[in-house]
């Protein structure tokens, strides 16, 4: 009746042992962390004696997975950014325009003269001098469309073409828009990752959230402001021909011109051609350096395409100025002195050394395809996180001791069994959290404390049931087995309902709340396991050895 097959005993102890070993690294948190960092550093940039020593701080054969500490415990910055995916539509339209213009000009006999009338938005609007040519113009525009290159958009074209009041309206088709959006987000993710990695911080979280949002969490960074400065700049570098210079911000005379202020003198405006000669996408390298006067500057190098375009343009326009534009501000507008063939150059301005270094980082990582809007930002100081950890540890300890004492007083020997199971339960919980690389947050600590309180519930249910069975059943052995059997349906129902709640929290929550849901959910699994397998095994083992005539629960 009270037999547990040997394989089952071995299995239960094996699970417990696994959990303990997996949880072990967390007991030596800082040492394991150092060793892990050192190993990663050796992997990347070769071994040094100091690193070797640190890596040896934690033996290789032991698992080294740790529970990650959430931002609220470690300190750092959290940003939720929305990518303005529509930004890209306009530049796509600009890209199509030369091709469309040439195609329509070739058919001038049928469509008459053409003029682009939009303002650079997500629609390309072309006015025809001869409205009768509209059908033919639409046909030409449709001929430029290409199939959308995603699985979901099979069969669709990337452009949608309409005609209205003698005007040709071209825009991206809905399928192409969603494909473009997806590309934009992925590109943004990649660039943000590169920029964050450049400053070298541990375990940043950069992930897509929903349709068009990106969540960025960087532990250890001073403030959200710093992080924003690093990733929020689009760093769109372009070289545009200068048309004129003046003080009027509304000097543009056509949609093909833009007016940008000079970075150091906001009252000075340059009127530029909208289409750049070369853009930052053609950059292959950028380094901070100094100009001939010893002022901080950034040197850059173009790829062959960019170098050719830049070389051709400088050869043709000696003596006229061109503007170096960064994010809609003119950094400088030097006059071209001579043909620049090599594809490299230098950007000078009133930079400090930090600014030039930062600019070089941004240029090297590439420009963000679209602007970011920040919807949420949080900065948590490292001291606050440390305080929270300490408070959490003390609370855990006190809760633990209180529950252990309470259980031992209430159930005697059986209470001690339950207490052993409770200790194993928390160890298993940490083991599981380390195994899946979960993140421990402040509410997560609360989840653990709550688990400590609630985990004894399954045992209490069983013990109370055994007490009842003792009154009626024949002999203690039968009472124990009946107690377990009859309490089971209550345990299962009670824990499944709580687990459902944890699952809902996990699905709908984010950040710290999700961390709480994870510890709560895993805590339910480990507590049911320890209560119905581990304590039972303990009790049965004890019972087999002692064979008591009566038991007191």
């Amino acid at each position: 009746m009270l037999q547990i097959p040997t394989w089952k005993r071995i299995f239960i102890w094996a699970v417990v042992a696994c959990g303990l070993i997996l949880a072990l690294p967390n007991a030596f948190y800082s040492r394991v962390e150092q060793a892990n960092d050192a190993r990663a550093a050796i992997e990347q940039s070769g071994a040094t004696a100091a690193l070797e020593e640190q890596a040896a701080g934690w033996p290789d054969f032991l698992p080294s997975g740790l529970v990650n500490l959430g931002l609220d415990l470690r300190g750092g910055a959290h940003l939720l950014a929305e990518v303005q995916v529509e930004d890209v539509y306009a530049s796509r339209m600009d890209g199509i325009w030369p091709e469309l213009r040439d195609a329509l000009r070739d058919a001038r006999d049928e469509v008459g003269t053409i003029r682009r009338v939009d303002e650079g938005g997500d629609q390309l609007i072309v006015a025809l001098s001869d409205p009768a040519g509209l059908p033919r113009a639409m046909e030409i525009a449709r001929g430029l469309a290409r199939p959308v290159s995603t699985i979901s958009g099979v069969g669709a074209q990337d452009l949608s073409v309409e005609g209205r009041d003698g005007q040709l309206i071209v825009q991206l088709s809905p399928e192409e828009q969603s494909a473009t959006d997806d590309r934009t987000i992925r590109q943004s993710l990649e660039i943000i990752r590169r920029r964050v990695d450049e400053v070298g911080t541990r375990e940043p979280t950069i992930q897509r959230q929903g349709e068009d949002r990106i969540l960025i969490q960087v532990p250890g960074i001073g403030s959200a402001e710093e992080l924003k400065a690093l990733i929020g700049t689009t760093a769109q570098l372009t070289f545009n021909p200068v048309i004129s210079r003046g003080g009027d911000p509304d000097a543009a005379t056509s949609s093909r011109q833009v007016v940008y202020p000079l970075l150091d003198e906001p009252e000075t405006y340059y009127t530029l051609e909208r289409t750049p000669v070369v853009s930052g996408e053609d950059l292959v390298d950028a380094q901070p350096s100094f100009d001939q006067n010893g002022r901080p500057a950034v040197t850059f190098r173009f790829n062959p395409t960019g170098a050719r375009a830049f070389g051709d343009y400088t050869a043709e326009n000696i003596g006229s100025p061109f503007a170096i534009v960064l994010d809609e501000e003119v950094i400088s507008a030097p006059v071209i002195q001579s043909h620049i063939p090599g594809g490299s150059g230098i950007i000078t301005g009133n930079f400090t050394v930090e600014e030039s270094t930062q600019l070089a980082v941004l240029l090297r990582a590439g420009a963000l395809p679209a602007e970011l809007t920040f919807l949420e930002e949080r900065t948590i100081g490292p001291e606050l996180g440390q305080d929270s950890i300490e408070a959490g540890q003390i609370a855990c300890l006190v809760a633990f001791v209180a529950v252990l004492v309470f259980m031992a007083l209430s159930y005697g020997l059986f209470g001690i069994f339950a207490n052993i199971a409770l200790l194993l339960n928390v160890a298993l919980l940490f083991g599981l959290l380390s195994l899946i690389g979960a993140t421990l947050t402040l509410p997560g600590i609360a989840g653990i404390v709550l688990t400590i309180g609630m985990a004894v519930d399954a045992n209490v249910l069983v013990f109370e049931r055994i007490r009842e069975e003792l009154k009626t059943a024949r002999g203690p052995s039968r009472a124990i087995s009946q107690g377990y059997e009859r309490a089971l349906s209550a345990i299962v129902d009670a824990n499944i309902t709580t687990f459902i709640i944890a699952a809902i929290l996990f699905t709908l929550g984010s950040g710290p709340v999700r961390g709480f849901a994870v510890t709560l959910g895993l805590g339910i699994i480990t507590s049911v396991f320890t209560a119905i397998f581990v304590t039972r095994l303990l009790i049965v083992t004890w019972f087999d050895r002692r064979r008591p005539k009566t038991i007191e629960v």
Binding site: S223, F374, E377, A402
Partner: protein, 322 residues
């Protein structure tokens, strides 16, 4: 030598004062609703957008001086509250400054934060800002929807699960008790104007989980006893079930409350609101399992002829060891 919170073989008539207890619950629910409607909830920035800045300085927090410093910036609704915690020494004075979401700004304005920080630094040069959090109105709107969805989904899931495992009367009774718990928790948050944010919703859901847990244990025993005592009055069988499980109810609530109170006192001020919601909910939830859920079931009546022939039916998980 045993600690016994509940004597053996209790025979308390939990329906003796049914009118009073159930009536009190109803009154408490109505009062909670009234307080909620009259005072509203002290929503955190998660739900209304805006910025909170935590300040820490060696000088005493002078709320009036802080207010005067921030006033000229014309930021609209600014709430400044001092934070107390037993672990803070004399030279550690913490306050929270909350600034409403600024008109016409979707994203968060960093210069606003910088301006506030500069203004406060003038009042107290030793001041530091251990945490600054901003949430834009767009996200906060979504968070409200998600929170409502989460609570709704949890209630629906419980209704469905209990209905599946028991009978529909039990499901209604259990969910009735849950609504009671939610309302009373919201009521106390409204009454004392405790900050209500996403973490509070998480706490609320945890309370639901705990309360349903408690209710299910009693219902499980009730189901068993209904099969055992086919002829007894439903009311008596219910009393018997609650008495039989009373010791367990008190023990589990006891250990959970022990752990929670440790956390409430020692866990630091950052999660105090969260822990308070859970602690209060556990108390209310335990009460509602005993005094609300089964009263509703009694009121609805239960089909006594359990046509299921086998009593282990609905108990399929019981044979793990065979």
């Amino acid at each position: 030598m045993r600690l016994k919170l509940v004597p053996d073989d209790t025979n308390i008539d939990f329906f003796k004062h049914a009118k009073a207890t159930f009536g009190a619950s109803c009154v408490a629910m109505v009062l909670s609703l009234v307080v909620w409607l009259m005072l509203g909830l002290n929503f955190g920035i998660d739900f209304r957008g805006g910025t909170t800045i935590r300040t820490e300085g060696t000088a005493q927090v002078d709320v009036a001086a802080y207010r005067a410093a921030i006033e000229p910036l014309e930021l609209g609704d600014v709430v400044i509250s001092e934070v107390f915690d037993p672990s803070f020494g004399d030279d550690r004075n913490v306050a929270m400054v909350r600034i409403q979401a600024q008109e016409g700004q979707e994203s968060v304005a960093s210069d606003t934060v910088a301006a506030v920080e500069a203004a406060l630094s003038e009042v107290d040069p030793s001041i530091t800002f251990p945490s600054v959090e901003s949430v834009g109105p767009k996200v906060s709107g979504e968070l409200i929807n998600t929170a409502l969805l989460a609570v709704g989904a949890a209630l629906a899931a419980m209704l469905f699960y209990i209905w599946l495992r028991f009978e529909w009367q039990f499901a209604v009774g259990a969910v009735g008790a849950l609504v009671h718990d939610i309302l009373l928790t919201i009521g106390i948050f409204s009454l004392f104007q405790i900050r209500f944010d996403v973490a509070t919703i998480a706490a609320l859901l945890t309370v639901l989980g705990y309360s349903i847990n408690d209710t299910v244990v009693i219902f499980d025993r009730l189901r068993e006893n209904l099969i055992k005592w086919k002829q007894r009055e439903l009311r008596d069988v219910m009393n018997l079930s609650v008495n039989e499980t009373l010791s367990r109810t008190v023990m589990t609530s006891g250990t959970t409350l022990l752990a929670l109170i440790a956390l409430l006192v020692l866990g630091g001020d950052v999660i105090r609101g969260f822990v308070f919601a859970i602690t209060w909910g556990v108390i209310v939830g335990t009460y509602s399992s005993v005094f609300v859920a089964k009263n509703i079931v009694l009121f609805l009546g239960v089909k006594r002829d359990w046509s299921k022939p086998d009593k282990t039916d609905g108990n399929q998980f019981a044979n793990i060891d065979s």
